[in-house]
Structure formats: structure tokens, C-alpha cells
């Protein structure tokens, strides 16, 4: 992919959370990180709890801002996007969260949750078409389209995660950010969703940022990996290399601790 | 200490909100305060004079500043009804009410804490169901109604307790330095008066406390039940600690803290609710004074009561919070 423009480029992005009003006691979530994601890549971000992984995900999807540095999306600095372009950006980048119980509106049927994506970003579709598309998407992620009029609480965790993925895919994003999509699922379901990801990566031309603290999953799924610790990127490179011959001392310790 | 400072700052802020509310009541909602202050039968000239004296020709913000200044100097205005400085009226009426609330609070705590703890421990049991029904019933009883009924039956029909007043006839001469008869009588070593005061307090305090006790039990139960679900209870059981030990050594201290914060607030609310019982039991007090003032359209006196009750409320909360903070070992966490 050399030469091609990266899809996402974070350059020295930093972010801190103010802890308390007045008191100058800032905890740094991120301190000046650089991340590049090329089209078609599956990039893993590894790190322990609190290392700043979710913050990166939120910055990439523009759910949160950053204090300094630059974020280039398809070469454009996102800070310069107009309102309209910002809205369009949202159909290019989608996110799947960890907690399948919180990531769907409990008061909307799963079908309408999926259709909402279409309603907002595929305005050209009529209602019947939207319903058809939603059914199609549900089938694609391994759910029965006839279940569309059910509410999230009628589904298991794994099924909800499938709905969340269908909802994200509905707008046909170029980049899918997955923030620990497996970690709150049962072991046997984790494997199912993992297989779903593998299939999607194969079938769709998706670029994926896969955030996880599970070294083994990242090893299996990702091309490239960033290892984070305390808001910094401590190591990066091809997944195979980094995870078998870690250069960084922290990475080594992490790998060693993993069962 | 930062926590204490923060609480004090918050209380001071609250005081200003309180001042703002009372200012609103007396200067905006009630209409022209000069007319109100002048009282009936005042001529136009007097009203005009008052208007100037009270600074009512100035902008509202200046008026508010003047108002705050006056009140912070302890000047609550003059009652056109009793013609006395309201501050001295209120100071006279406060002790009997506080005494009443104090006893009602004791009843409340004495019932709520153990009952809350026990129902939390035996949540879901028949006993718990029964208490919960009692709590919901208690929370539905009109204070003034139960006061009338109690007075008629316990004092009237059974003659078990005195009907009305603060002291029995034989002790009518009694007076003390603080106005808190319970305290004054003890200080004077007069057990007779002490018991008499107490007897006169039982019915009104009980009537007053019912509603609050119902809420108190519920809150204590909720707080305690949360504690019982925590793993440290499991760990204590696993250590082999006995149930009483778990309840009193472990759960109680942790669950009582949030409950006590609410009891602090209840103190103020109870003081407000004295309006419903004092008149029925013919007791002097801030509640009766307030009702009187309302019916006399003595708006300044009413507003003063609102203010004073608010201040007592703030103080009670501040004291409870600081006490909890000082007693609590987990200083970092609370700060």
C-alpha cells in the first residue's frame, strides 16, 4: 500500500481529562500519539485497562475531540470539515462498542435501530426499501430478519452485538472501529463474533481498527498492531513480529502474563 | 479539610439562594412591600416614606443587596402585627419548635435505623413485607389528621397524656434561660418539669414523626440493602463472623452514613411540618407563628420564617455532613 494516502493519520494527538473544576490536576489520557491506518488494513490496538485505547477510538470516530495534534482523514484535517462534511464523515466511519447491553436503544426495535442509520444517511431510500435493507443486514450478521420487531432485551448479548454490527454496517462505512467487541461476551459467543469479523473482513472491503486487551485475538485478526501503555504508544509494527518478538519491555511483560 | 471548606462554601451559596427566594417572595410575588410593611390603615404619605426608607425606588439588584445586608445583620424586619422585631419573635418561637423536632427526630431515628437494618437483612421476608406496608401506610397519613385523632383518643378519651400546651398547669411558672425546657429543667435539676415537658411532647412529636419515620425506614432499608449486597459482607461471613457482628460491626456503619445525610435533611423538613401540629396541640412555636403570620398577611414574618427554617436546615445539613466527615475514616473518598 506504499504511496497510497492513509485513510486515517493521527499526528501527535494528545488529550487530557480535567479532573476537577479549578484544580489543575489533569490526568493524561493520551500524550502525543501517532497512528496511521491504511485502506484495507486491520489494525489492532493492544493495551491494558486505562491505557487510552477507547480514547483513541473515540477520537478516530470523532465522538470526542482532542487537545493538540492533527487528525487527517483521507488526507483532510478533520478540524476543517464543514457541517455537511462532518455529517458525511459519520457515514464513512462507524463504531462498535464493547457492551452489547448498552449499545442499543432499549426503546427501539432492532429493526428501527438498523433503519435509523439508513434514514439518516441513505435518504434516497423509501420506507419499504429501508425495511428490506434492514432485513438483509440482519440476515448478513446471522440473525433472523423476522426478529426485527423485537426489542433489544429479548436478545442475548451475542445477538445484540450482531445487531450493533449490522447497524454500523448499514451506512456502508469505509472504516469500522471496534472497541473491545468481544470482551463482554461468553467464550463460545466470542468465537462466533470473531468468525463474523473474519467473514466480514473477507467479504467487504472494510478497514478495521480492532481494539482489544486480548493478545491472542489481535494476533489472529490483525495485520498491524499498536501497543499502548499509559496513554503512549510503546510499540508498533506487524502483528506477527511484535507479538512474537516484542522489543519493548512492557509489551514483553504483557505477553508473558497472558494465559 | 478541603471537604469541610467545600461544604461551608456550598452552604454559603445556599444561603444566598435562600435569600434570593425570600427576596423574591417579599419583594416581587407579594406586591409592593411598602404597602405590606405599612400595614392596614396607613396613609399614602406613610407608604411613600416607607418606600424611600426601604430603598424601593432603586433598581432590583440594589434592593437585593440592601436586603441581604439587612438580613445578614440579623434584621428580619418588623412585624406590623406584633409590632416587634421579627428576629426577636422568631427567636422566642424557635426553641419550643426545635425541642419538638428534636424529640420527633429521636423517635424517627430510634425506629428507622433498627427497622431499616433488620428489613434490609431480612429483605423479602414476611417481616419485611409487613414493615413495607406499614411504611407505605405511614407515608400516606396526613400529619394533621393523625394529630387530631391521637389527641382525641389518647389525650381526650384515655387521658393518658396531656391535651395541649408545653407544660402542665402546676409548672406554668417555669421558665429557663434557653427556652429549651428539656434542657432548662435538667439544668435546674427539676425532674418534675422535665418529665412534664416530655409528656407534653410525646403526642405532637409522635404525630410529626410518623411520616418522616416511614420515609426514614425506607431510606435506611435501601441504604442497608445495598450494603448487604456488597462482597465485604460475604467476606465477613466467610470469615465466620456472626450475623449480629456483621450487621452492627460491618454493615451498620457503612449504611448509616448515606441514611444520616437524609436524616439531616429531614430535620429541616420536620421543622417546616410543625405548622401542621403546633396549632392542634396549642403549642407555641415557629410553625404556629408562621400560620398566624400567613393568616394575618404578615408577609415579612412569613418570609422570615421561611428564611430561618431554611437556615436551620442548612445548618443541620452542614453539621451532619461535617460530623459524618469527621467520624468517617474514609476521608480521601469523601473529599
Amino acid at each position: 500500500m506504499a504511496g497510497a494516502e492513509p485513510l486515517v493519520a493521527l499526528e501527535g494527538v494528545a488529550k487530557s481529562f480535567a479532573r476537577r473544576l479549578l484544580v489543575q490536576n489533569r490526568s493524561f489520557a493520551l500524550s502525543g500519539i501517532d497512528i496511521t491506518i491504511n485502506r484495507g488494513e486491520v489494525v489492532g490496538i493492544l493495551g491494558e485497562s486505562g491505557s487510552g485505547k477507547s480514547t483513541v477510538a473515540n477520537i478516530i470516530t470523532r465522538l470526542t475531540g482532542y487537545d493538540s495534534g492533527r487528525y487527517l482523514f483521507k488526507g483532510r484535517d478533520v478540524a476543517t470539515l464543514t457541517r455537511k462534511e462532518s455529517f458525511a464523515f459519520k457515514s464513512d466511519v462507524q463504531i462498535v462498542f464493547q457492551d452489547p447491553y448498552g449499545s442499543l436503544n432499549p426503546r427501539a426495535t432492532v429493526q428501527s435501530s438498523v433503519m435509523e442509520s439508513l434514514l439518516l444517511h441513505k435518504r434516497e431510500l423509501g420506507k419499504a426499501e429501508r425495511i428490506a435493507r434492514a432485513g438483509q443486514l440482519l440476515e448478513e450478521v446471522g440473525l433472523n430478519a423476522a426478529w426485527g420487531d423485537r426489542y433489544p432485551h429479548e436478545f442475548s448479548g451475542g445477538q445484540r452485538q450482531r445487531v450493533a454490527i449490522a447497524r454500523a454496517l448499514a451506512v456502508e462505512p469505509e472504516l469500522l472501529v471496534c472497541d473491545e467487541p468481544l470482551s463482554s461476551l461468553d467464550v463460545s459467543i466470542q468465537a462466533q463474533i470473531l468468525e463474523l469479523f473474519v467473514r466480514m473482513i473477507r467479504e467487504r472491503n472494510l478497514t478495521i481498527v480492532f481494539i482489544s486487551h486480548d493478545v491472542n485475538v489481535v494476533r489472529l485478526l490483525c495485520d498491524r498492531v499498536y501497543v499502548m501503555n499509559q496513554g503512549r504508544i510503546v510499540e508498533q509494527g506487524q502483528a506477527r513480529d511484535v507479538l512474537s518478538r516484542p522489543q519493548n519491555e512492557y509489551t514483553a511483560r504483557l505477553l508473558e502474563a497472558v494465559y | 479539610m478541603a471537604y469541610v471548606a467545600q461544604r461551608i462554601v456550598f452552604s454559603i451559596l445556599s444561603l444566598f439562594v435562600l435569600l434570593f427566594i425570600t427576596f423574591l417572595l417579599s419583594h416581587v410575588v407579594a406586591g409592593d412591600p411598602a404597602i405590606v410593611a405599612a400595614g392596614p390603615n396607613a396613609g399614602a404619605a406613610k407608604i411613600a416614606l416607607l418606600r424611600e426608607q426601604m430603598g424601593l425606588d432603586k433598581p432590583l439588584l440594589t434592593q437585593f443587596a440592601i436586603y441581604c445586608g439587612q438580613i445578614l445583620q440579623g434584621d428580619l424586619g418588623t412585624s406590623w402585627f406584633t409590632r416587634q422585631p421579627i428576629a426577636s419573635d422568631v427567636l422566642r418561637e424557635l426553641p419550643p419548635s426545635l425541642e419538638l423536632v428534636f424529640i420527633a427526630m429521636l423517635i424517627n431515628l430510634a425506629v428507622s435505623l433498627p427497622l431499616g437494618l433488620l428489613t434490609a437483612r431480612y429483605a423479602g421476608s414476611r417481616f419485611d413485607d409487613l414493615v413495607r406496608l406499614g411504611v407505605m401506610a405511614g407515608a400516606g397519613l396526613p400529619v394533621f389528621w393523625i394529630a387530631i385523632i391521637l389527641q382525641q383518643i389518647v389525650a381526650g378519651r384515655w387521658q393518658l397524656l396531656p391535651t395541649a400546651g408545653r407544660l402542665g398547669f402546676a409548672n406554668r411558672e417555669f421558665s429557663g434561660a434557653t427556652g429549651f425546657y428539656l434542657f432548662d429543667s435538667l439544668a435546674a435539676g427539676n425532674m418534675n418539669v422535665f418529665l412534664d415537658t416530655l409528656a407534653h411532647l410525646v403526642l405532637p412529636a409522635f404525630a410529626l414523626s410518623l411520616l418522616f419515620t416511614a420515609v426514614g425506614v425506607r431510606i435506611t432499608r435501601t441504604a442497608m440493602i445495598g450494603e448487604f449486597r456488597k462482597d465485604y459482607v460475604t467476606l465477613a461471613r466467610a470469615k465466620g463472623a456472626s450475623e449480629p457482628r456483621i450487621m452492627f460491626r460491618h454493615v451498620f456503619a457503612n449504611g448509616a452514613t448515606p441514611a444520616l445525610t437524609v436524616f439531616g435533611m429531614q430535620f429541616g423538613w420536620m421543622l417546616g411540618a410543625t405548622v401542621l401540629v403546633e396549632e392542634i396541640f396549642g403549642r407555641p412555636g415557629i410553625g404556629r407563628y408562621a400560620v398566624k403570620a400567613v393568616t394575618q398577611s404578615d408577609i415579612h414574618a412569613v418570609v422570615a420564617v421561611v428564611f430561618v427554617v431554611g437556615v436551620v436546615f442548612l445548618l443541620a445539613n452542614l453539621l451532619v455532613d461535617i460530623a459524618l466527615y469527621v467520624l468517617s475514616p474514609r476521608k480521601q473518598q469523601r473529599a
Binding site: - | 400595614g39 406584633t82 409590632r83 389525650a155 400546651g165 402542665g168 398547669f169 396549642g282 407555641p284 407563628y289
Partner: protein
């Protein structure tokens, strides 16, 4: 020597102790024993008798009254009462524009002749002047003067007592109780059976008053319900005293109103809508006299038949003829007084039947008084008792109907009624001392008032008081309605 303690229940708390407020019975009953007036109406008397004044002379033109004072009167602080104190008292009341002076007519000034002689000057002759003086309580100048300030010592006298009467106010807790103790150096001496101490306990609830009376904690309970009083009549240990009161209760129509009550015809209709007989029978349970016009029927100068009889049919016809259906009126009254409430409910109920809505606003006396300061804030109908300060037609008619004493002018003419012919008749009657002539003038005035449909005289209630049978010497005093002659009362052992 006086012994024992008399406890009296009272439903309304006193505003203050200021003699300037002596028109208010709750205040008056405390001052009655604590202060001395120049002359007094004793319980049962129809004429004034000497008190501080040993004797008096009236100048032939009726403009100067000269009083000879007793020289053995001591104030409670031990100092001697002199003519200076009398002058000071009246000067202060005048300067403070006190309500008690409303009934003093054209009183002008006081003059000290010598320590035991004081002259009072009037700007015009005024028949009931002596009677009116019975409410002027003489204060101790030496004590009060330092507190005059710019409020004429109102604040100080509100909580302090400076009198010379048989009893001293020793404890004043206005929401709870007031205690008076016998003054052992009282000039009148303490012969006979008297109590050493009087306690007023302020108990709002009639039912509580009843309980306390029954348990012996109070000796006199005036405010329990009529039904309870009737029940007590037959109960051993209690006495129910019925005094022939002269305190007519009025519905005052706002005659100056721009609303419906400004219309005489409308008022005519209204004045037919109240059944006095029913009120007397069922609310007062027969305690009282059926009113026939504003003056009690046995009073000098009473004119019969000036007011409309109850005739709801006729009223209904008038409403229909004039298209008054759907009118909404407001009445203000004192909810603490059960009779007032019952009367309002009765009127509401009757008016509802003929298609008129009557909203009621319960208020207290001073609050209601405050609304009378302007015609615009005056309700369509106000309820008011006339408590005549002395038993003379003037005390009722002048206070209630004189255009100079409208509510807007600070008086008790709450109908805001102003008829120059009536005013002239009342003034003429006041300045005369010829009884027959006065009676004639008052009759004329009543006719005119009746033709203007100013008020409905609701009732002439008796004063019904429940007492423990230990109480000896209680007597109803028409001139001091709703008070108690505790200085004459003794307790049976």
C-alpha cells in the same frame, strides 16, 4: 387577699398589649385589668361609673369636660398617677392616630389643671363622649416617655405594660399564654373573693378548648361549638352563661363598588337572600335575638322593619328580570368564627340557588381590614361584627354607616357607604344630649340606610360562655364584648 389561679381559654392570640389597640377585644381583655380608664362600664351597667375620675363636670356648651382624679392611685411601678399621665395618654393616642380615637368623635385636646384635675376639650359637642372614654386606658408617662421614639412607643407598649389596674401583666407569650397577677397596692383594695392570678391560654381548636375545660385545665372556654355548649348545659360541673350581647353581625355590601354591588337594585335583591331565623335557630341554636335592622331591638332609637325580609322567590325573580344570572361575587370573612363561616355557607348556598356564584375568602381581621383601604380592593361583600365600645346607638350606627369612617378612611364602615343625609343625621345625633331627639334622628337614619340596602344584619348573637362551676362572679359585659371581668371573679375552693 386574692387566691387561686383562673385560667381562661382564648382562640385568637393578641396582636400586642398597646392601649392604642384597645378596640380589639383580644387586646382589650388583657388591658381591662391592667389599666384604669377615667370612667368605666362595669359588667351589667348601662351608664358609665367613676374609675380614675372621682367626678366630672361638663361645660354647658358641651365642649369642655373637667375631671377630678383620685389621688391614691399607684402605677404598678409604685409611682403616683396624676393628671399629667392622663394628658400624656391622650396626646400619644392622638399623635399615633390610634383606632380607639375613632369613637371619640370631635375630641380636641387635654389640659392639666392641677395634679388631680384634667380638662378635655372638644371641637364640637359629642353626646357619647363619656362612654367613649371608657376605652382610654391611662398609661404611666414616666415609663413610656423614654420609649416614644418615632413610633409613639408603639413597639415598646406592644410588649410592655404601664398601667395601674388591679392586675399586672407578668408574662407575655403571645402564641402561648399571658399571665396577670394581682397588684397588692391596687387602690380599690382586695375585698371579697378574687383570684391572685389570671392566665389566658391561647387555644385555637374548639375541640381542644373543650378537652381542657373538661379536664379542669381551663375554667372558662368561650369558643367551643354551640353544640358542645348545649351539651355542657346539662353536664354537672359546668355552667353555660348566656349574655345579652349587642354585637350585630353584618354582611356589608360594597356600595362604592363599580361592580354589581354598586347597583342599589342589585343590593335590594341581595338583601332578600338571607334567612336570619334559620341562622338563629340552627347556627346560634337559639342563643341570641332575631335582628331587626342594625340596632338591637331593645336599644334606644331602634326603628323596626327597615331591612328586607328573607324572600328567595322575590330575589330570584329580580335576578331573572335583570339578567343577573351568572354573576360572581366575593365575600371575605373570618373563618375562625364558626358563625361567620356558617353564614357565608348559607349565603353561598342560597345565591347558588338563584344563579349567583359567591366565592369566599377566609382571612383574619387585620388582613381583611387591609383590603378595605381601597374601594378597588374591597370585596363585594365583607363580614364584620360591630362591637360597640359603649352601649349607645352611636357606637353602632356611626361606626358602621358614617361616610367619614369608611374602610378606605380607616374606619369600620366596610360598606364604603357614604350618604350625606345619613352623615348629617348621625352627626347631629352625636352632638346632642337630648335622648328623645337623638332617638328620633337615629330612627330617620336607619330608614334611609334601609332604603339604600347597605347591609344584611345577620344576627344578634348572645354571648355564650362555658365555665367551670368553680367560677364565681362571672358577668357578661356588653361594653367589653368577648372579654372577661376576671377582676370580679373568684374561684370556689
Amino acid at each position: 387577699a386574692p387566691t387561686g389561679t383562673l385560667v381562661i381559654a382564648e382562640n385568637e392570640t393578641p396582636e400586642n398589649l398597646d392601649p392604642a389597640n384597645a378596640t380589639n377585644s383580644t387586646v382589650d381583655e388583657l388591658l381591662l385589668g391592667a389599666y384604669d380608664p377615667l370612667v368605666q362600664f362595669s359588667a351589667g351597667a348601662t351608664e358609665v361609673t367613676p374609675r380614675l375620675a372621682k367626678s366630672w363636670e361638663i361645660s354647658p356648651d358641651g365642649l369642655t369636660y373637667t375631671f377630678k382624679l383620685r389621688d391614691d392611685v399607684l402605677f404598678h411601678d409604685g409611682s403616683k398617677l396624676t393628671a399629667e399621665d392622663v394628658k400624656f395618654t391622650l396626646d400619644r393616642l392622638k399623635a399615633a392616630a390610634a383606632n380607639v380615637l375613632n369613637d371619640m368623635g370631635p375630641y380636641a385636646s387635654a389640659e392639666v389643671v392641677d395634679p388631680t384635675t384634667v380638662k378635655l376639650h372638644l371641637s364640637a359637642p359629642f353626646g357619647p363622649f363619656l362612654s367613649a372614654l371608657s376605652r382610654i386606658y391611662v398609661v404611666n408617662k414616666a415609663l413610656v416617655e423614654p420609649h416614644m421614639g418615632d413610633d409613639h412607643a408603639r413597639q415598646w407598649l406592644s410588649v410592655n405594660e404601664a398601667g395601674s389596674g388591679p392586675y399586672m401583666i407578668t408574662a407575655y407569650n403571645p402564641t402561648e399564654s399571658v399571665t396577670l397577677k394581682a397588684f397588692d397596692k391596687y387602690w380599690g383594695g382586695w375585698d371579697g373573693n378574687h383570684v391572685a392570678e389570671v392566665v389566658f391560654r391561647y387555644i385555637t381548636e374548639p375541640s381542644t378548648q373543650l378537652s381542657l375545660l373538661k379536664s379542669g385545665e381551663v375554667h372558662i372556654a368561650p369558643d367551643i361549638t354551640v353544640e358542645d355548649k348545649i351539651a355542657l348545659k346539662t353536664e354537672p360541673g359546668f355552667v353555660v352563661d348566656v349574655g345579652a350581647a349587642a354585637t350585630p353581625l353584618f354582611f356589608d355590601f360594597n356600595t362604592a363598588s363599580k361592580g354589581p354591588t354598586g347597583n342599589k337594585k342589585f343590593r335590594e335583591m341581595l338583601s332578600k337572600t338571607f334567612d336570619r331565623q334559620l341562622h338563629l335557630d340552627q347556627v346560634l341554636m337559639g342563643f341570641g335575638a332575631l335582628p331587626d335592622g342594625p340596632l338591637p331591638a331593645n336599644w334606644m332609637g331602634h326603628e323596626a322593619g327597615t331591612e328586607q325580609a328573607f324572600d328567595l322567590e322575590a330575589a330570584k325573580k329580580m335576578v331573572e328580570e335583570n339578567g343577573w344570572k351568572g354573576t360572581t361575587l366575593t365575600v371575605r370573612y373570618l373563618p375562625a368564627i364558626l358563625e361567620e363561616k356558617a353564614a357565608v355557607e348559607q349565603l353561598q348556598s342560597n345565591l347558588a340557588e338563584i344563579g349567583i356564584t359567591l366565592n369566599a375568602e377566609g382571612m383574619t381581621w387585620p388582613a381583611q381590614a387591609a383590603t378595605l383601604q381601597k374601594v378597588e380592593t374591597t370585596a363585594d361583600i365583607n363580614m364584620i361584627y360591630s362591637f360597640p365600645v359603649f352601649p349607645d346607638p352611636h357606637a353602632i350606627l356611626n361606626a358602621t354607616f358614617n361616610g367619614a369612617l369608611t374602610g378606605a378612611k380607616g374606619g369600620y364602615n366596610w360598606a364604603q357607604y357614604s350618604n350625606p343625609d345619613v352623615d348629617a343625621l348621625l352627626n347631629e345625633a352625636a352632638s346632642s344630649s337630648d335622648s328623645a331627639k337623638r332617638a328620633e334622628l337615629y330612627k330617620k337614619a336607619q330608614k334611609l340606610i334601609g332604603e339604600d340596602y347597605v347591609v344584611i344584619t345577620v344576627s344578634n348573637p348572645g354571648s355564650v360562655v362555658a365555665l367551670s362551676d368553680k367560677v364565681e362572679g362571672y358577668k357578661y359585659n356588653v361594653a367589653h364584648h368577648q372579654t372577661f371581668n376576671y377582676m370580679d371573679i373568684g374561684l370556689k375552693p
